[in-house]
Amino acid sequence: MIAVRGLSKRFGAVQALDAVTFDAADGEITGLLGPNGAGKSTCLRILSTVISADSGTATVGGIDVAADPLGVRRVLGVLPHSAGLYQQLTAAENIAYYGRLHGLPEPLLAKRVEELLDRLDLRAIAHRKAKGFSQGERTKVALARALVHDPKHLLLDEPTNGLDVMATRHLRDWLRELRDQGCCVLLSSHIMQEVEALVDRLVIIAGGRVVERGTPAELAARHPGRNLEEIFVAAVLGASRGAAA
């Protein structure tokens, strides 16, 4: 369970987050939806403890990100926007490196790496250097790397960026599988259709504020006669009018 309460963050003159509040429950996929620059990445970065909030609190699995960042990182898997691999290491070595830094003992680590190679269909490239990987292969390895310590919580920043149709479908399947195992999955996106097909719950943010939230069904009930994309566009436009006023 991820709980965000009144989170604010300012970069110079830009108010990236303005009192953002939402929950992401265990066993659910929560989509953080918003146009480019809405504050999605900033929010995920605060949750992954690489930057800190100006005010407000956030907890991951009940652990406060500001008070115990190392504790949060232990229960969290992170797939940042266009995450890079180490070019000179093989797929298996890239995954194992993160496992060692998570402090996994060697026998368990070896078992986990084998499992992930199978589950994410990485056998063919397991012992090839990451140098020549396609975008899809890179994303798969980065996801395996984020899952190496079997985290209860998973943060993904625009995970389908640059992936082709097949790779996107595979990714969705894995995320559903993780959800079914009880994982708390929080992903960001700016593509409505993608989120619609995948998420259980939606948080739409624009201009650093939460403008809509709920399950797709709740949103549809609240805005009769509109599809999700229309609801999204209306919410974003409403937010920018609010900011101008």
Binding site: A83, L89, L101, R145
Partner: protein
Amino acid sequence: MRRAIAVVCRKELLETARDRRIMFSLLLGPLLGPVLFAVIMSVAVSQSVSSIEEPLEVPMLGIEQAPNLQAFLAARGIEPLAEHGLQDADDAAAAVARGEHDLVLALDERFAKDFGTTAAARITLIFDRSKSRASGRVERVRRALGAYASRIGTLRLVALGVDPLLLRPIAIDERDVSTPAGRSALMLGMLTYFLLFAMLTGGLHLAIDSTAGERERRSLEPLLSLPVARTELLLGKMAATVICMLLTLGLTLAAFPVAVHYLPLERVGMSAGFGAGTALAVFGVLAPFAPLGAAVMMLVASFTKTYREAQTYLTFVLLVPTIPLVFAMILNVEPRAALMWIPSLSQHLQIMALLRQEPVPLSLAALSAGTTLAFGAAVAALAARFYRRESLLG
């Protein structure tokens, strides 16, 4: 905690070892550097040797007036140049200025008439002082002429029944106490900087890659979201950088005795004094500098955006250790406690002493190593502070 440092260090070294281009440039420096150094030194040595014995042909105007002088010079390997086409002293001056001759000897037209009277017979040496190549030859001709003049003077005094020693109220004897190794130390003076440069270059890639490089290829953010303190990541990367630097230094020092072996230092009465023992001692002297160098490079790389930007800044950083060395060479300083706290200078002074085969007091060596390591720790702490900033993500 120590495990994470070791994991990071091992991964950085593995990645470096796998990169063929980086390995090539890492090996090229240590192997080619000493060869280059040996070639430069041997050219310098052979030039200073050659000007001593080589027969020298000099245009001599009006030498037919002085057959005895000509014979005297010929006995010292200085012969008149047969065909020079020079008419007079002005002509000769123009030719020297144009660089056609290094020097010209012009006897006064009244030379024969004045010689043997109380008036001094005049000889003009025409040369260009700004040409360093000619200075050895000019000096040689000048000495030969002086010797001739003093012999003639002595003979005249004897002919008049005067003791020639009257003209030498003071006898000056010279006793040069520099050992052959000491003389070559002068020529090997640039060695310290050469070694420091090789060592820093060896760690350059890793220092940049660990911060600016990680950021550029977008692997820094996922790395920072692992349950490892940033200071530990930094220390692991720094350890890998230090190991790389020490390996480069070791390789360079291993190649040095081989290269110096082929130097014709003995021809100018020098011995290099650069055996395996000296190489090992030099390694021990320079090793404490590696953490400081690594910390400085990582500090600079931590606030640059890209690999290329870091490389630009670090090119200047590589020049910083030369500043104390330049002062040392100009002021010709000796090892003393007041100076041994300055990194790079203290290493330089110890290496010079090692090459001169002079002992360095253990307390001074310890002071040098201690202060250099302390500086390294201070800069590493500063780098860790920079590493903890949010803007590290870029």
